[in-house]
């Protein structure tokens, strides 16, 4: 019996120890988990609770056995009574998140209390403080809501990229780009034009390494296949380890601006080309900083290699010819002070010593206080234009001289012809004839810049006008090609014309048998070189001095008086049995030289 009692005692003690251990384990467990646990019986009376519950329900050890509904809890949980009743009835647990009055959150689980015999003997409530989690979830939800609102409200494309940009996690296209809702590693192919991909890749590569914000203007492909420009910016989201968690980016359609920019660049380029082609150099001076920009032409006009000099006002003025410098400076100062246009033609001296003429126009720009802040101008090399214009002036002057002189000659011819004409008809014929000769000479002279008038050309023109060349066997024209001075041509031509006309009317060319020989050569007479022209008519009608004396008179006067007077010629003119024999010796040197030389341009 005692032995049996002892064994029972030992067993009891053992059990008690086990219970004690279990109890203490339970104590420690509840303390360790900080899980508030509240045991209630079927009548909602408190059976047991763990310390975290004390504050929530304002209960103490002595309250065990009282109904929990007698206490005002600090939770916003008025339904505790009905919930417990429902759990006891349905035997299904209730779980809900409950907020305490001091804004803490608890996960409350309410389940039936089962005894080891599987009997329901009340309920167990557990309260887990989930304040931190709930707050975090709130924050997250809040930020997600804001993000969604942002995405919806934004006209921008928003996107998220994986840390290495291998995949696009999401893109909201705002109706501009197609949306991407699930992570996609093919995003580059999808959105970026093939020719843009290397540039985009390079930009990404650079920012990933440095964890710097990404910014790039590039072209994108639209859902309809069209191409547009976007400005895309993305920032890395860095986690607590300093690693990139993801990239968040936004992109805008900048096509309009880009097109305008390109148009501007295009028009700037056109303007630059136009200035270049037009031979205009430009400068742009910032008067506040002294900074200067010269166009390539500006350098070239001033005889400098592009970039050879540091552009500045001083460098510009240094190129101006010293004799013109004061005037240029004064003109600039005037333009600046009077808000007028600077406009000046002046000489410049190139580094190689060459002097050139330049025309320059410029304008000052002012700030609100009327202080000049900028000057822009153009410069043009006008040397050739000036030379050309000077040449033209000379030509115009010469032309005027020639025209008026010609009128004076015509006036004199008219006078001479009137004197020698018996009838108006005679006057008309002779005048027309002489004017025609004069006109032929003018024609030759106007072309003389290109082909100097030769004696042969002069003679040929006269004979052709008479129709004499139709019988070439009756004509010999012999002599070297001699270019004649324009100043000598007119008088000589008129003389030859009179000789030819007379030969046709009365001399060697007046019948069918006569012969005319015109020969010329150079010869020294009285120690001076002369061009000697022989005019020899043979076999023509013999004529007496009395024939048509008046007409012969003009021709003869031309030969015997005018040629010596005007050209310094030595002449002889005689009537022979076969026609006229005439010699004209013209000086080849001196102020009245008949030969054209280098001095006659």
């Amino acid at each position: 019996m005692n032995e049996e009692l002892q064994a029972v005692n030992a067993e009891l003690k053992n059990k008690l120890d086990n219970i004690s251990t279990a109890h203490s384990d339970l104590q420690n467990l509840t303390a360790a988990t900080e899980i508030g646990t509240l045991f209630l019986d079927e009548k909602l009376r408190i059976r047991m609770f763990t310390p975290p519950v004390v504050d929530l329900f304002n209960i103490a050890e002595m309250d065990i056995g009282r109904a929990i509904t007698d206490f005002t809890n600090r939770l916003s949980y008025e339904e505790i009574g009905s919930d417990v009743a429902r759990v006891l009835r349905d035997l299904t647990p209730v779980e809900s998140e409950i907020r305490s009055k001091d804004n803490r959150w608890f996960m409350m689980r309410l389940r039936p209390y089962r005894t080891i015999e599987d009997r329901i003997s009340g309920t167990v409530l557990t309260f887990i403080d989930i304040t931190d989690r709930v707050e975090a979830e709130h924050k997250l939800r809040e930020s997600e809501r804001r993000f969604r609102a942002l995405v919806q409200a934004s006209s921008q494309v928003l996107y998220r990229m994986s840390p290495q940009w291998r995949e696009m996690r999401q893109l909201s296209g705002s109706g501009f780009l197609s949306d991407m809702r699930a992570p996609n590693p093919e995003w580059l192919e999808h959105y970026i034009l093939p020719e843009e991909q290397p540039r985009v890749r390079a930009a990404i590569h650079e920012v990933i390494a440095d964890k710097k914000p990404f910014e790039l203007e590039h072209r994108v492909r639209l859902p309809d296949g069209a191409t547009r420009w976007t400005l895309s910016r993305a920032v890395p989201i860095i986690d607590e380890n300093g690693e990139i968690e993801e990239w968040f980016g936004a992109a805008t359609d900048v096509t309009a601006g880009k097109v305008a920019e390109e148009a501007l660049r295009g028009s700037e380029e056109s303007l630059r080309l136009a200035l270049e082609v037009g031979g205009l150099g430009t400068w742009d001076r910032d008067l506040l900083t002294g900074e200067c920009i010269w166009s390539a032409n500006q350098y070239r006009i001033f005889g400098l290699e592009v970039g050879e000099a540091e552009p500045s006002e001083a460098a510009w003025l240094e190129c101006v010819h010293p004799d013109d410098l004061d005037e240029v400076k004064a003109a600039m100062a005037t333009a600046r002070d009077e808000h007028s246009v600077f406009e000046r033609e002046f000489r410049i001296q190139r580094p190689d010593g060459a002097t050139r003429w330049c025309f320059s126009r410029g304008q000052f720009y002012y700030d609100r206080e009327d202080k000049p802040v900028r000057m822009i101008g153009v410069v043009e090399d006008t040397t050739e234009r000036r030379e050309w214009s000077e040449r033209q002036q000379v030509m115009v002057a010469e032309l005027q001289h020639r025209t008026r002189n010609l009128l004076a000659v015509v006036r004199s011819i008219v006078g001479q012809t009137i004197k020698a004409s018996g009838t108006l008809e005679e006057f008309r014929d002779r005048l027309n004839d002489r004017l025609a000769a004069l006109s032929r000479v003018q024609g030759l002279m106007s072309r003389s810049d290109k082909e100097p008038i030769t004696l042969r050309a002069l003679i040929t023109a006269e004979l052709e006008a008479l129709g004499a060349v139709t019988s070439p066997e009756r004509l010999s024209v012999e002599g070297p090609d001699v270019p004649l001075r324009n100043a000598a041509v007119q008088t000589l031509a008129l003389g030859l014309h009179e000789l030819a006309t007379n030969a046709r009317k009365y001399g060697a060319l007046a019948n069918d048998a006569g012969h005319l020989a015109i020969e010329w050569r150079s010869e020294t007479i009285d120690g001076e070189a002369h061009l000697v022209i022989d005019w020899i008519e043979t076999g023509g009608n013999a004529r007496a001095d009395g024939d048509d004396a008046s007409h012969k008179g003009y021709g003869q006067e031309l030969i015997e008086k005018a040629l010596p007077y005007t050209l310094g010629a030595k002449t002889s003119h005689e009537l022979t049995a076969g026609g006229v024999r005439c010699t004209i010796a013209l000086p080849m040197s001196g102020p009245r030289r008949v030969i054209r030389d280098t001095r006659d341009g």
């Binding site: 001289h401 006036r411 004199s412 006078g415 001075r485 324009n486 008086k561 102020p591 009245r592």
Partner: protein
């Protein structure tokens, strides 16, 4: 004969003109007026020689003498205080400023008009 031109009577006037017929017409007209004509001559050289060789009361000067400009002649006339007129086809712009006071008669011009212009000097 008008009065002004008549005042040239008995005066020594040099005629420089390279066209023979124009020169001759002037020569005749001036002589008919009683002018003692010196020349006419057609070259700068001859004109200079004649100015050097004797007193002159006036001169008519063509500017372009067979391609040679006659300003050297005009200079010598100025130096000698001999009044003169240009008979030329050239515009005033071609004539150097130092001859601004000289009358320029535009060709074609009648010898009488030249005589009148010279008499006004």
């Amino acid at each position: 004969m008008d009065k002004a031109a008549g005042s040239l009577k008995g005066r020594r006037v040099l005629l420089v003109e390279d066209d023979y017929f124009i020169a001759e017409e002037m020569n005749r007209t001036f002589r008919d007026m009683g002018v003692e004509v010196v020349g006419p001559v057609a070259t700068v050289g001859e004109a200079l020689r004649l100015i050097e060789s004797g007193h002159l009361d006036g001169a008519v000067l063509d500017i372009n003498l067979q391609g040679e400009l006659a300003f050297a002649v005009a200079d010598l006339l100025l130096e000698r205080c001999v009044p003169f007129v240009f008979a030329t086809g050239y515009d005033q712009s071609v004539i150097p400023a130092r001859f601004a006071s000289a009358i320029r008669c535009e060709k074609p011009v009648s010898p009488v008009a030249l005589a009148r212009a010279l008499a006004l000097r």
